[in-house]
Subunit: 243 residues, 2 copies
DNA sequence: AGCGATCTTTACAGAATCTTAACGGGAATG
DNA sequence: CATTCCCGTTAAGATTCTGTAAAGATCGCT
């Protein structure tokens, strides 16, 4: 049984969301603003969050940014049609998907299922693999081609973060906030130094690409591209759309 | 069936617009000044608006500015040739496209279709696609026909902006303000240099059209109608898409 | 306290990117 | 058809960013 947290300031929308969620036999929690939402997430650890972008006080975007400093819980964004820019910003800030108001109940549930399933995948397999790299999260062990690598605490956190978002760009600020906390958001030299050590230890079997001026990304090994959640987009395009 | 509102003070132009609109099997409404136009939009919620810039009384620009405070309805501007500045102002104020008098009926219809389609477009995924171009916003990844393209921070921001408003003209000032900030609003040579790099990397699969004296527009690929879950729309006939 | 490991800070060269300037061609205008 | 303005392209100079090394500072442990 899943628990879904609803963060929305409008009572009638909350009620609609609650009935929708409960029709899928999930439990729903409701709060009316972002601050309470963050508190509730820390307290009850819901399986997913439905977050309204347009709220008074702490905006949905700010809530999401704060949240992503310490939690990877799946977040579904609710937005109105004319907030295209905000939607993209939300996705860049770490949202997993979004739905536009007015929304269709069935579509919302199916998107909720999708993001929870995607998220469950990681804990299901406590070992992350990408090419020759393997990370055993419970054991906190990193191996390359079966050979154990010894990492410091910082290096491990860095690599873990990159692996958790393999293929995606992690911005300087995001990495710094996650590992060193919000106070050290500006200390880019930390990244350079620790990443250099990480690259030296990992060798050239693992490619951590630099996005100049933006951040870093762990490149997904060629044979791992097959069945990720987004892998299909390539087939989608090359599939006979010749102009 | 679409409803198009025509706001123009000249009766013969109105008649010409009406026959053009009705030749596409759409319904047309006509009013002769801006005040009535705003009232009519609030009342009947048309699917698009054709707005003449040069009108006595409330100018087209003032109408547009009032309108944009409460409505996102697609607006097509009608202007005469020597109103370049007004055209830019109108686009800045939220117009979706413009047509210069004297206009070609087929072109006007095609532009109307384009702005209505863009407005309708239901969000289908955090991945933007347009022809061979695909932008994965969360991953900050750009691919053409499945082939990964490496962009600098500025180039990515530029392309992101164009894609967010695909099909719409973005003025020089708007782009400059968005990427470089208000201080650099006059530096048009930035646009030329970075756009050249962008075009070189994207190749000719992606068409970024120049609107001389106005700005730039990312052209919507002809076959960009691939909606999955939502209802399909196919009122776009192959006739006369040469703009 | 002393030691080793790790993290922080500093410095600098090389790479990547951005800005600036110049020039030829093409579009708009009369 | 000529003029003027705008655009695309290129390349060099300026600037910022990155990788690397190495010297302090800090922490944990015996």
């Amino acid at each position: 049984m899943k628990t879904i947290l609803i963060i929305d300031d409008e009572p009638q929308i909350r009620r609609l969301l609650r009935t929708t969620v409960e029709s899928a036999n999930w439990k729903s929690l409701e709060v009316e603003d972002g601050k309470r939402g963050l508190h509730e997430i820390a307290l009850t650890r819901p399986d997913a969050v439905i977050l309204d972008l347009g709220m008074p006080g702490l905006s949905g975007l700010e809530v999401l940014r704060s949240l992503r400093e310490w939690s990877e819980v799946p977040v579904l964004i609710l937005s109105v049609r004319d907030q295209a820019d905000d939607k993209v910003e939300a996705l860049e800030a770490g949202a997993d998907d979004y739905v536009t108001k007015p929304f269709d109940g069935a579509e919302l549930l199916s998107r909720l299922r999708a993001i929870m399933r995607r998220h469950e995948k990681a804990p299901d397999s406590p070992v992350f693999t990408n090419g020759k790299l393997a990370i055993d999260f419970p054991a906190r062990e990193v191996t390359i081609g079966g050979h154990l690598i010894s990492l410091t605490a910082t290096e491990y956190e860095f690599l873990r973060l990159l692996a958790l978002h393999a293929g995606k760009v992690l911005t300087h600020s995001h990495i710094l906030r996650s590992i060193w906390g919000p106070k050290s958001e500006e200390q880019r030299q930390y990244l350079r130094v620790h990443l250099a050590a990480l690259r030296r230890k990992l060798g050239n079997a693992v490619k951590i690409k630099t996005e100049t001026g933006i951040g870093y990304r762990l490149e997904i090994a060629a044979e791992a591209l097959r069945n990720t959640s987004r892998g299909l987009k390539n087939d989608d395009i090359s599939g006979g759309n010749e102009i």
